[in-house]
Homo-oligomer: 356 residues x 2
């Protein structure tokens, strides 16, 4: 089932009006060299963390991975949330689209729609990410203007290792008070390494910098691209941000851009859907992040969890060792909105696990 952060006639209406509608699921792939900082993220295979977007993409698209031998998982062996999104794609398929926003290794997917924006992975934020954020933002606005939606609405999701770090740094660089609001893919978030990285990144931020200059220094390609894309697309169609604190940060970035520049923007077309694991996470506060916005965006979460799973490895999601990514929460919400029960989803996930 899908639940509203705040129950109101409008928030319930928004989500119910998507029931039975077809979605395009768009996955943004990106790398930030921030992920090379030892111990900063557990979203991937040790030493091959940079391959996570590549493998997530292959796995979501095909149910197989081609670029290495095993599915992206954390050191403790938890499979990527791509597993959840793929299981739903097998039950009630999406129209899949991929964005290459600068990755180390191209995924081996022929025949799929992959939009390549000719970007390089961004640099470490503690050494200045040196992103040409204005150019990326402009590419995104143009892409939104040209974009033809092939379904009833769009779900946008991301896969970028160390993305919670670049997200938190971005929000802080823009002046938001985000203390205690940000999640990590770790259950015991490596606070020291993350905090040090973010603190070092923020040393490059001074009061005279505008929004784009700040983002160039401490953000990542996905956050900046989606900010432009969602501003541009909001007037054309309904867009679901499928994710947790990272996609909430996209909204914070939009919020800051709108204070400096004029754009037509229709926030009433937007919503965020995340997992129960993020919604109930004690280390972060997704609701509070949305409340920092000057416009309203409804938040929702799926009540799906692994309490009834036969696999201990999946129950680690319930203990907070993995929480969100590859749009898992949005995909779970999509399944609910199309009549798929939590039992069917669990069965589909476990069937896939057994194939491996």
């Amino acid at each position: 089932m899908i639940k509203a952060f705040k129950k109101s006639s409008k928030s319930i209406n928004y989500i119910e009006s998507l029931r039975g509608k077809r979605a395009t699921f768009m996955l943004a792939l990106a790398n930030s060299k921030t992920a090379n900082i030892k111990g900063i993220s557990q979203a991937g295979i040790d030493g091959l963390l940079h391959l996570t977007p590549t493998l997530d993409c292959e796995f979501l698209a095909t149910g197989s991975i081609f670029s290495i031998d095993e599915i992206a998982k954390t050191d403790s062996g938890i499979p990527s949330p791509a597993l959840i999104t793929r299981a739903i794609h097998e039950l009630n398929p999406f129209n899949l689209e991929f964005l290459d926003l600068g990755i180390e290794k191209k995924p081996k997917i022929e025949y799929f729609d992959i939009f390549d924006f000719k970007l390089k992975p961004s640099d470490r934020i503690d050494e200045n990410a040196k992103i040409d954020s204005r150019s990326i933002f402009e590419k995104a606005i143009n892409f939104a203007n040209d974009y033809e939606l092939k379904s009833d609405y769009l779900i946008v999701a991301e896969t970028i290792p160390s993305g919670t770090t670049t997200a938190e740094a971005s929000a802080k660089a823009l002046g938001y008070d985000t203390k205690g609001l940000y999640a990590s893919s770790f259950s015991k978030a490596p606070k020291d390494i993350k905090r040090k990285t973010i603190d070092r990144a923020l040393l490059n931020i001074s009061n005279d910098l505008d929004v784009f200059d700040r983002l160039s220094s401490v953000s990542d390609n996905m956050l900046i691209f989606y900010a432009g894309f969602i501003i541009g697309l909001s007037k054309k169609c309904r867009v679901i941000l499928a994710g947790g604190t990272q996609l909430a940060t996209v909204l914070l970035i939009i919020n800051s851009i709108l204070k400096e520049d004029k754009f037509t923007f229709s926030p009433e077309n937007l919503a965020l859907i995340t997992t129960k694991w993020i919604y109930e996470d004690k280390h972060s506060d997704i609701e509070a992040l949305l409340e920092l916005l000057d416009f309203e965006v409804f938040g929702y979460y799926s009540d799906f969890d692994f309490s009834k799973s036969r696999f201990d490895i999946l129950k680690k999601y319930d203990s907070g060792e993995a929480k969100e990514g590859v749009g898992a929460g949005g995909a779970l919400g999509y399944a609910s909105l199309n009549g798929i029960s939590n039992e069917s989803i669990l069965e589909s996930i476990e069937n896939i696990l057994e194939r491996f």
Copy 2:
């Protein structure tokens, strides 16, 4: 589930990129008087074999038959594979289109798209089929050029009694070494009658004949039409050949035509999907047939079978008494690609059987 004959990143990608996409299911109806040769085919009701395409069409389109009182079945009572395709159409509907390529009796279907090419059933191949194959081929190329696909991709299928005989004769007439590669709708294929018919047909073939002259003598309207149609359509959209040895023969014919004439042809848009019964058939070898081609076309099969059925009559499929036809394999693959489980398919098939 749908499985690739040969697992490769490209073959998995090809089929996975169709997940959730909508298909037009095109069924070619044709008669060859070859079916009048006593004992040559069991795909239909004894004495009324020529009505099989008419009844298959009515049944697929409407779930009922109008031109006689019972569904087309073999002498031993096995229902036509139209039952399988219909069951899937009821679960996850196709856009249906029909081609009238020369049939004895028009199906009673109003309101459906039926393209009529004003062709007559072809003659017995042992007495020279006397098909104007160039004209049919040209009509098919023109039809492909004008054709507007109303879905994401096209599935092409056939229903033509004695079609495995005309297919095998066509491949042999074109010089392919097809020993042991061809299926029949019989479990114990009536080899003697078929072999004699094919041998007699081949007496009309001499070395000085070009591809079209050979086909005119020993082929059938469906094979020739689909060869032209698929050549023409391959550059425009993805086309799934839903069938076994007959649709593989369409590819062999294309292969031979391309050696004599120049056409724009995009084999990378094509694939063949068949049933498990054809894939595992010991009397034929669908994989080997595809390997005779000078271009690559991926092959797949559905792992669906009737081992869990309550109906003995259906289990005869598993013992090889019926194997493929009316695009059953492609329809089963389509179901899998749209999240329909084998259990649901079986239930739908059995529900239809119980209605009769």
